[in-house]
Subunit: 138 residues, 2 copies
DNA sequence: TCCTTTTGCATAGCGTGCTATATAAATAGA
DNA sequence: TCTATTTATATAGCACGCTATGCAAAAGGA
């Protein structure tokens, strides 16, 4: 059968495909949704802070934010405290998409684990966290 | 905390990063390794067969194979039975890389699950398979 | 103060994934 | 047989992940 690494890759693609299908009509791509969702908790973060929270490389985030700004989902303003840094703000358009997208993302997660018991789902999340931590350390 | 979908994505990236780090000196990218590993079991498959076995879209496979041919890892020959189809063969260069890469990939999987008991690892794989199947059905 | 290092972001270049579309060969149906 | 459909591959165009690099601002040290 397939290795854990193969399955991890396939599963992530299936999750992404499903999420993309759900938020497609909102004009949102998966990574864009993640950024919006993160900023729902706290607006005005810098790119650096988003990089730390979403655990992607700085260049990846810069490109994603550039696409989001192009699409009018966010705006960027040079920080008063540090003229290198840019604070990211969700636009009204971004906010209007976010709430619907958030519900649909929850639906995707619910669907994905719908054949698991609640104990299995908890175990599933715990095991993924454990594997992620282990891979980070090596 | 993070959702299952977020964790699935992060975990897959950590697996890929680790694999890439391991096979980098062999001039192999992760997807290229997957193709070689599949053909280790059976050489001369068509692109279509590889698409089914590795569960990626046809266009994705076509591009990956084009890069592998460019890098001299495989060669493609028009099938005798069907002049539309192209049979894929591993070159000597590809085969020489494969064996080492295979061991290193096993190492990555071993590292990733090194903080799990054997029961947990089995559970982990089973849960991923279950979630994948569920997502495929919806 | 001046110089070095660090930090925040942008850009270039690439691999891998996707959808949509094109093209040619094989197959099926009339 | 002749046409219509299906099948195998290729290509265009995009999102998103990465590494490597460059640049400007901030911070630190002499």
């Amino acid at each position: 059968m397939h290795s854990a690494g193969f399955l991890a890759n396939l599963m992530a693609r299936k999750f992404a495909a499903r999420l993309q299908h759900e938020v497609r009509d909102l004009g949102l791509a998966p990574a864009q949704f993640m950024v919006l969702a993160e900023m729902a908790e706290r607006d005005g973060l810098t790119q650096r802070q988003l990089v730390e929270r979403l655990e992607v490389e700085q260049a990846t985030m810069a490109n994603t934010l550039a696409r989001m700004e192009r699409d009018g989902l966010i705006r960027r303003a040079i920080s008063d405290a540090d003229r290198r840094a840019k604070c990211i703000f969700v636009t009204d358009k971004g906010r209007s998409r976010l709430e619907i997208a958030f519900q649909r993302a929850q639906k995707v997660n619910a669907i994905a684990t719908s054949d698991l018991t609640s104990q299995e789902t908890e175990m599933f999340v715990n095991l993924m966290n454990k594997v992620i931590e282990t891979l980070k350390r090596h």
